[in-house]
Symmetry: C2
Subunit: 371 residues, 2 copies
């Protein structure tokens, strides 16, 4: 068989990410590749930094995009901030809390996992209790927007608790950024990571990230070297932060960064508050339609992420077959359940460019025919 170019099918992406990438961003990614040390490219990198500061609502100087997907952003936070024997309190209420635990262990830290049921938000009392019990803890980590369940957690209060007990706060906002309110500076978050393929609707492959001065201090004063050369922020800082003489660290993913730049321009054109508002309004529209179909949500009304709607698979409906029909007959991708929720829930994403009325109509119409 002759090898052929890959022509992807056209899908409507309403799963847990990637979301639909707009033509503007696809066009941006197709612009001619230039060198990563070209002055034109470096000034674009500076613009991305400013635009990411806007998206995160921060003035943090150490704000940039890791040259790898969101999971590398997570690893970048833990690899740099965790030292051997550091106790890390992990507020776990879904799949990604489990990943945090793995990260802490691999970098020689001691994870203290505080469990909440999947589909609920993090219980602040339990975090406070853990902080009292482990007065030598160094970090509290939590997930702003649990992609596995659609539960929204309050990183502001968790960060406050962490600081009251002398801990740093690491926040996962892979699915949160641009979809729900997030104010890194006002909330005093120390380290935060996200992805490009959720509410920013750029292609996957980069991880926006930001660190407070307090976090930078901890990194600069590490006793041991970071157990990753690629993700060592002491090295990366000079690549992204250096004025003028940017030194060579690695070859940046040029065209992916064109796409992220365009996605951030689009976000700024809309306005971050308007983006939050649009995600909420479309969530309410979808919810109304789902209720008419007698479909119910996993998460309590007040703790739901507008951009990630985890719904119970209606009784008697075959999980895999139905999703395959949605994909094959309606070109519609929705997400399966992850971990303990596999076979129990579906996840409908309304993220970024996918969060629009046409998609909601298409999704409700298609669902009605499949269930």
């Amino acid at each position: 068989m002759k090898d052929k170019s890959f022509i992807p099918p056209e899908r409507v992406l309403m799963g847990p990410g990637p979301s639909d990438v707009s033509q503007r961003i696809l066009d941006a990614m197709a612009r001619p590749t230039i060198g990563h040390l070209d002055p034109a490219f470096i000034s674009m990198m500076d613009e991305i930094k400013g635009l990411l500061q806007y998206a995160f609502q921060t003035k943090n100087d150490l704000t940039f995009a890791v040259s790898a997907p969101g999971m590398a952003g997570m690893e970048c936070c833990f690899a740099n901030l965790v030292e051997t024997e550091d106790k890390v309190i992990i507020a776990k209420n879904g799949f990604f809390g489990e990943r945090m635990k793995e990260n802490v262990e691999r970098f020689g830290g001691v994870p203290i996992v505080i469990d909440d049921e999947w589909g609920t938000k993090v219980d602040l009392n339990k975090i406070q209790e853990a902080l009292k019990q482990h007065s030598d803890a160094k970090i509290v980590a939590s997930v702003h927007a649990e992609t596995s369940t659609g539960a929204l957690t309050d990183p502001e209060s968790i960060t406050k608790l962490a600081h009251d007990h002398g801990c740093l706060s690491i926040v996962d906002t892979v699915t949160g950024l641009a979809g729900v309110p997030l104010k890194v500076d006002d909330w005093n978050i120390d380290a935060i990571y996200s992805g490009t393929q959720k509410c920013l609707s750029a292609s996957p492959g980069l991880s926006p990230i930001s660190f407070s001065e307090r976090a930078k201090e901890k990194i600069k004063n590490r006793k041991s070297k970071v157990k990753s050369w690629f993700l060592d922020l002491n090295l990366i800082m000079s690549y992204w932060e250096g004025e003028g003489g940017r030194s060579y660290h690695h070859t940046a993913p040029i065209n992916a960064l064109y796409g992220l730049h365009e996605a951030l321009i689009i976000l700024k054109e809309e306005g971050i508050e308007n983006s939050w508002k649009r995600h909420m309004e479309n969530h309410l529209l979808l919810r109304e339609g789902l209720e008419k179909l007698n479909i119910s949500y996993l998460v309590n009304k007040e703790d739901r992420l507008p951009q990630l709607n985890a719904i119970y698979i209606p009784e008697g409906v075959n999980d895999l077959e139905s999703r395959q029909r949605l994909l094959n007959d309606f070109n519609l991708e929705i997400g399966a359940g992850l971990g303990v929720l596999a076979g129990k829930v579906w996840r409908i994403g309304l993220m970024g460019h996918s969060s629009k009325k046409e998609n909601i109509d298409h999704c409700l119409q298609s669902l009605a025919q499949v269930i």
Copy 2:
């Protein structure tokens, strides 16, 4: 100032990478994003695996692209193959040997660095000597194509020495793949990594990689967990290798992979031997022109990489000013010297899509006006 879309200048990329990306590949990257668990995407991933096996000339089952640039590919090899206290002999004859040392140290290994002068190839006698002296060594690492100097090293002989002494062989071919002969299976290489932005001429951001059965055995039998979750091959294997039920590990860089797929199709259309031949023929053309300009090479004639021409900056010529003129007046990017060669050499790349006669003419004409 209003934020604006980024429109890159059009360059001719003749530095150490990225190389010119063809319109076919740019167009491929701009195709609609689909989900990373979409059956259509998964079958494209399988095709990439087969195409990478062709590029590497291997049947290794564990052949795939790391979702991050070449330096992460390097880290993936060392993170997975080096355990605490493992002695690793590093054949260092340039900048990237130094990076290997950093990698070994960060993963708890003991680097034994065997130095050769920058711009020369690796001296096999020294490697043999080191293997005798360190009979407990576990790995020998070398750089097939030193991007910092343009020197070609013989990984086949180094691998043979390594195996004779019970060691595994790790080879860096970031700049080598598709530019000079490489036969992973015939040469029995155990672990090898490359980049997409050199002789494959895809956009930067992915790292093709391949592991022998012997390397896989070592990874499966590790005493300690890999000190990276993102790069742990035990986890990644199930993502790339799994038949049918591919499990979720991370969100792949969809559009970048479209580009790599197209780049590999283009390579197969040309034929790998023809690609090697084209790189050599164009190197000889460039060399002829440079000789007429009285420009001399850093590396001995017989050890030169055709795709990376490191030349001495002519006496009395200002390094930075000349490169700026080439960029601004001729839209031509060439590379500066790295490390100890900074200010002494320029690096002219003839990689992948950049390796063509028009570029050679343009480069020689422009150089003649600048020096």
